[in-house]
């Protein structure tokens, strides 16, 4: 009973939050709603017994990703209302609904669910984190390492891309130097 209440509650909240994210015209609202939605999603993970995943969700998404977005938004004028030209709404809604219905139809097909066999069954008497650890560092070691390298590369890339000319500090430059740099179009 508790599980059902929790599910419906968080389902309602998640949907609302994400709906706000995609519809609002204030970037800041969108960011906040997204962050809230992420946290609510982690609730599902806890309900489903994937504790580790829930924790990662909160840490990575709400912690890291959202922080990144927040920093990113500082580059742009986030307080300004976002003006977006909208095309045909019916196409957008229609396509999305159609996709959803089709996915549901596929899920409901018996032949999909019948044939699933557990490859790495959950281990009894062991906590979720330990289970994850056992599988992650044995069977998925190589993907794990690859993911690690990928994250490293992404980090480097992020720094390089965003941090170009970071050594130039406008506060330390004189006005003429700033003009000069502007003429070079380094700063825009």
């Amino acid at each position: 009973m508790f599980e059902a209440i929790a599910f419906y509650l968080f389902a309602f909240l998640t949907i609302v939050m994400f709906f706000i994210t995609v519809t609002t015209s204030q970037a800041l609202y969108a960011l906040s709603a997204l962050a809230a939605g992420m946290i609510f999603i982690s609730a599902f993970f806890f309900i489903l017994g994937a504790d580790f995943l829930g924790a990662v969700q909160i840490i990575v998404y709400t912690g890291a990703v959202m922080a990144l977005y927040a920093f990113g938004m500082m580059f742009f004028d986030s307080t300004r209302e976002v003006k977006e030209k909208q095309g045909n709404k019916y196409i957008i809604v229609g396509l999305s609904t159609l996709a959803a219905i089709l996915v549901v139809v596929i899920f409901s097909a018996p032949m999909v669910s019948d044939k699933i066999v557990a490859l790495y069954p959950a281990i009894d008497g062991v906590g979720n984190t330990q289970e994850v650890g056992l599988v992650l560092f044995t069977k998925y070691l190589v993907p794990f390492e690859v993911a690690a390298i990928m994250l490293l590369v992404a980090m480097v890339a992020g720094i390089v891309l965003a941090g170009k000319k970071m050594d130039l500090s406008i506060t330390l430059m004189s006005d003429s130097e700033i003009e000069e740099q502007k003429n070079k179009k380094v700063l825009s």
Partner: protein, 639 residues
């Protein structure tokens, strides 16, 4: 004897090649002389061969080399000299020699002098191949070869539009017939397995009559083209645009008789199919009358003679069709002599009259051109069949044959035509040589031809007079290979009545022609009532057949060609190809606009694609799930 065969055959080739070396250079008299000498050599060799055959020698049969051999097909360059071919060789080489010598004078001032002799000798060579070959394929070589040379010679004065037009017409019309000939050859090959005359004829009696009939018909179609039989006759009259010696040699004496030669050569075939023979005879009789009627009113000297040639070819076919092959061959020979003489005489007149052809603009020429007058008169007498000239013996025998075979309609037609022949021949002679000197109005000063030209013509003159005496030896010679019955009417009384009757009829026609035309004094200008009568117009326009061909065959062909090119080829076939390419290109051009570069639009497309894929997944999933039911359903629909 083989040596003489090769000399007879190849001397004209050598002559042609020799003259051809000088085609691009100005006139050189010696080409004409050397060509004439070489043709004369050929004539001498032919004479030796004739004597050999006359003495009862075996026919000479040689095989030079293989021409084509593949599968079961074997065609050699084989030549045979037997009674038939030696006759033809004599006719060809004799007339050729005379025409060559005559041409030296006739083409005196022409800048294509050397080229003329190259073509003329090439023609003789082709004709020799035609008559000497021992198989149908070799015959076809000569057949096409004479067509080619005729093309080159009719269009000899190629700066004249009408001459080149006539040459193309002759070539193409001959080609139409040659197709029939070719089909006939194919039929012979696939039914007998060989194209050699002797082997093929030996097998023919065992074939069923339908096949033989088809062979006979198709071969005769070939003969119809070369011998200008109806309905392929129009080219012959137009071919008169060529130089007159050419008309004498090709379009009177030799090439046009090739069709008759073919029928005579294939006599063993045609004896097996008398129905086709009857058709040939009927067509021959019809053409005899038909052509003679056109000659009655024509106002072009050479065309009149051409129609008379056509008419005489009709006689030959009538004889050949009735099975009187030797008579046909004999008439061929006699006709070659007097008709060549007639043409050469006409050439003299033309020269004298500066290429004027309308006999109504001549008149009284016998004073200045005495010898020509004599020659043409005798030739016309021979043509009309007056005793004792050559035509009497050959033509009268045809009439007898028709009578003896009880084909009285053919006999009647031929007899009537004999009268017409006499009339138009002497209409021509009377208009040219008698009466007032109408040419003076046009300021022409005629003169007699060179003496050596006249001398060259004299053998023909003699032969036109005395060729009749050869009838008996000729018959004796050819009866060995031609189914030769002498045609004798059973009762002598009938025979005499026929002979005398015919002679009287012809003589009356001659007298009538003289009476009507010998005193002619004016040039017709198209106003007299007779010129406006229906029949006159019908005959003068050659029964409107050239007009018919032009309007209903040539013109539609030209228009259809244009239509095929501009409408079908460019607008349909090519446009379809370009259309397919255009669809591909257009699709690319249209879908290119999807790549607007706008990420948002592309994302929409991405979602659309996702939906599409999902839809496919569902569809295939359902199809796999219900495959049995679908098969049942489809089979119920009968798919």
């Amino acid at each position: 004897m083989e040596k003489y065969l090769y000399i007879a055959l190849f001397a004209p080739l050598v002559s042609s090649l020799f003259s051809a070396l000088f085609t691009a250079t100005p006139k050189k008299l010696f080409t004409g002389i050397i060509a004439s000498v070489l043709i004369f050599t050929s004539f001498v060799a032919s004479t030796i061969l004739l004597l050999h055959i006359l003495k009862g020698g075996e026919p000479i049969h040689v095989t030079l080399m293989t021409w084509m051999a593949t599968g079961d097909l074997y065609i050699p360059f084989g030549f045979v000299v037997d009674q038939i071919s030696v006759t033809m060789m004599m006719v060809v080489t004799l007339v050729s020699t005379i025409v060559h010598i005559y041409s030296i004078g006739y083409m005196d001032h022409d800048k294509g002098f050397n080229r003329f002799f190259a073509w003329l000798s090439a023609f003789v060579f082709s004709m020799m191949i035609l008559v000497m070959s021992d198989n149908y394929a070799g015959l076809f070589i000569g057949w096409e070869g004479v067509g080619l040379c005729s093309w080159g010679l009719i269009g000899f004065w190629y700066h004249k539009e009408i001459a080149t037009w006539a040459s193309n017409e002759a070539f193409i019309m001959n080609r139409i017939a040659d197709l029939g000939m070719l089909i006939g050859i194919f039929l012979v090959y696939w039914n007998t397995g060989t194209l050699q005359y002797d082997e093929a004829f030996a097998l023919m009696p065992s074939l069923d009559s339908a096949t033989l009939t088809w062979i006979g018909i198709f071969l005769f179609i070939g003969a119809m083209g070369k011998s200008a039989q109806f309905p392929l006759h129009t080219w012959l009259a137009d071919a008169m645009e060529g130089p007159t010696p050419v008309s004498a040699l090709i379009h009177a004496a030799t090439m046009v008789t090739a069709g008759v030669y073919l029928v005579v050569r294939s006599n063993e075939l045609y004896s097996l199919i008398p129905n086709v023979g009857l058709f040939i005879a009927s067509l021959g009789a019809f053409v005899a009358l038909f052509a003679a009627s056109m000659a009655l009113v024509n106002r072009d000297m050479k065309r009149i003679i051409a129609y008379s040639t056509l008419s005489q070819l009709g006689y030959m076919f009538a004889a050949a069709g009735l099975g009187a092959y030797w008579v046909a061959l004999f008439h061929l020979m006699a006709h070659a002599f007097f008709k060549a003489l007639l043409f050469l005489g006409a050439g003299n007149v033309m020269h004298a009259m500066h290429d004027e052809l309308d006999p109504f603009k001549m008149g009284g020429l016998k004073k200045v051109m005495k010898w020509t007058w004599i020659m043409m008169t005798i030739a016309s007498l021979a043509l009309a069949g007056i005793f004792p000239f050559a035509g009497f013996f050959s033509k009268d025998t045809i009439l007898e044959a028709a009578f003896a075979e009880h084909h009285f309609v053919i006999y009647g037609v031929l007899l009537f035509t004999a009268g017409l022949t006499a009339f138009y021949s002497f209409r021509l002679v009377a208009l040219i040589f008698h009466g007032e000197e109408r040419y003076k109005i046009f300021g022409i000063h005629p003169h007699e031809a060179y003496r050596f030209m006249l001398i060259a013509m004299s053998p023909l003159l003699i032969l036109a007079m005395i060729a009749g005496v050869f009838q008996e030896p000729f018959f004796a010679m050819v009866e060995e290979i031609l189914s030769a019955h002498e045609y004798h009417i059973h009762s002598h009384t009938t025979l005499w009545i026929m002979l005398v009757g015919t002679q009287l009829f012809v003589a009356l026609a001659i007298l009538y022609a003289y009476k009507k035309y010998a005193t002619w004094s004016s040039v017709p200008d198209g106003t007299s009532p007779i010129e406006n009568s229906f029949f006159y117009k019908l005959l003068f326009n050659q029964y409107y057949i050239p007009y018919f061909y032009e309007t209903y065959i040539v013109k539609p062909y030209r228009e259809a060609s244009e239509l095929f090119w501009t409408k079908v080829d460019l607008k349909i076939v090519d446009a379809t190809v370009d259309g397919i390419a255009g669809i591909v290109y257009g699709t690319g051009e249209k879908t290119r606009q999807m790549q607007s570069g706008n990420l948002s639009t592309m994302l929409k497309w991405m979602v659309a694609g996702l939906v599409g894929l999902l839809f496919l997944a569902v569809a295939f999933g359902l199809a796999a799930r219900y495959s049995d039911e679908i098969i049942v359903f489809l089979s119920a629909l009968g798919v």
